[in-house]
Amino acid sequence: MVRRPFFWIIALVIAVFAALPAIGNNVEMRESLVLACVYITLASNLNLMLGYAGYINFGSIVFFGLGGYICVWLVYAHNWPLLPSLLAAGFGVSALALIFGLGILRLRGHFFALATIGIVEGVQAFAENFSPWGGSSGIYISPAVFKPFGGAAEALWVIYFAMVAVMGASLYLSYGIKSSKFGLGLLAIGQNEDAAAILGVPTPFYKALVYCISAFLPAITGGLYFFKSAFIQPSDAFDLTLSTEAIVICMLGGQGTVTGVALGAFLYEELRGYLLTSPTFADFQLTIAGVLLLIIVLFFPSGLMGFIYSRFPRTQKVLE
């Protein structure tokens, strides 16, 4: 893996993400890249389910939100330091994903998609009623938690670098799985699940495993994100729109590709950010986003990577 050019491309992306805002202490750029990191992490992990195994998961936000809740709650109520809280969030949510997965992975197609929507709504409604997590008011953590990092300003940088690391880990994970036997099995499931099972792919195990794996890094990113916000509430933690956006990103970039999804996430965040803050487009940003998406779905169904591959066939050798 280390010898392949793509390994170094990912390393370069991580380096650029880490270095760009750090040069000249560009905080505004950092904040924009924080969201880009979140989108890349969410979309890349969603891509394991969607692009590889062909399962439409509207519930990726549940991993993010639950990760955030577990982490913030441990920091707030039990005074845990950040790192163990994050790990607890990652492993806890993965374990939950395994339990959810065992139930709903028997479903296929639209039914699976619907069940994941049900899980998002159900978990959000649960969090709104669960008093240890502050119910619908959520949890505030005092700015004092940033003290161990040397103050809020320093803490934000530490958190940012951690998020870049998690994003990088997501890309390596996507890449590693894609070039493994496990990944091949997933792609086979995505093509034709019954045929894959007949060919000897242990489909139930693979599906449960990928669902579980795809929960880990989003949970950690959720923990970092809401720790950074110092505030978490159900409507933000389990916002169905973010899940939908992650799916749109996979489409935009080209589902099943590592580069495409990462690039799609980055472009999407920049575009949304631009539309939202542009004085010209602000009133119609939803409409414009809708029209753009429709054009992409109708005329560029294989996404950005499909377009790049067809225009520059040689890139296929380098990119994944």
Partner: protein, 402 residues
Amino acid sequence: MKRLYLLAAAAALIATPAFAQNTITIGFTDSVTGPLNVDSLGQTRGYEFWRDEVNAAGGIKAGGKSYKVKFVSYDDESVGGRVQQLYTRLINQDKANFLFSPYSSGLTAPAAVISEQYGKIMIDSGGAEEKPFEQGNKYLFMVITSATHYLSGAIEALKEKDPHAKLAMVYSDDPFSKDVLAAAAQQAKAAGLDVVLDESYSPSTTDFGPVVNKIISSNADAFLGGGHYSDGATLARQMHDQKANMKWMSILVAPADDKFAELGPAALGVTVPSQWEVQVSYKPQFGPTTAQFVKAYEAKFHAPPDYHAASGYTDGMILQHAIEQAGSVDPEKVTAALNAIDVTTFFGRIKFATDPGHHGLQVGHKMVLAQWQMINGKLGRQVVWPTEAQSANLLYPMPASK
């Protein structure tokens, strides 16, 4: 991608005038889209109305200079997800000197985290929840009465009319409404009133049929609850449609909007805790009187101001006052001036708590209770409580449903 950055940078350049030293920039987000749009719009109009008046008068004068006020605002889509990014942008890219709050407690809380991190003063007229003020914040100041006191007037009035009233409390499952009703429940118990139902509903609820039946089953004769605009108005209409026959109904936020009149008979007799009404007559130490404010506002927007507009205007007015007192736009000096403020404006008295456990919380301002009554054959709001401020007598029990 680069092109987008260039575009954005170019836009920022064009938008920033060269004589920046005589301009102060105030940043905020408002809900151009999403469910909070109606209430948020009122607040934004209040902000803008203040800005236009200040600039027309030559700007804010402090330390021998005069500063024109410039706004930068973004759509927060009524969700918290982007609020922190947008406030960070307002501070770092748009170089906002001061901040105003978004609308609603749920959005103000994440915004406050950012304003604290960067040491920017944020004046809050949109979030009444108290929790953000218990985090040891130094730069957050609330000009409105906090959630804890929203319904205290209603409970006093109710106790006077019927000391044995049975109360049903049903409210939206959001931070603000929960905070308001939790405090109200305590005040009701302290007043010896009987709370027979205490429940929250999901903010996305569209049909309150089962809820209304539950209220009827609880044998309550007084109702306190609601949340924001849509749910409150729907609840009022269904209470009326299902002939719940309450003697008393107090609903948060929704009835404070003039559009509430569209409900027709369902609106009659409903009371609403209000930060401010057009009938109040505080004697301002500076700024417009209520009559002047209402007149100018109506001339501009062709509609009477609601309390969101008034509190939004007050945000600006108080900031302006503090800057003028401080004689500087330096955040620390303005903060000190804000901490020292104790004034009366057309909006009422303004004074901030200064103890570390509640710093920035409003302790001077008092709410009034308004009731929808027939005024010359048309539905309108009258101030009915406290009695010394009332513009009409409280109707109790409220006119029966027909």
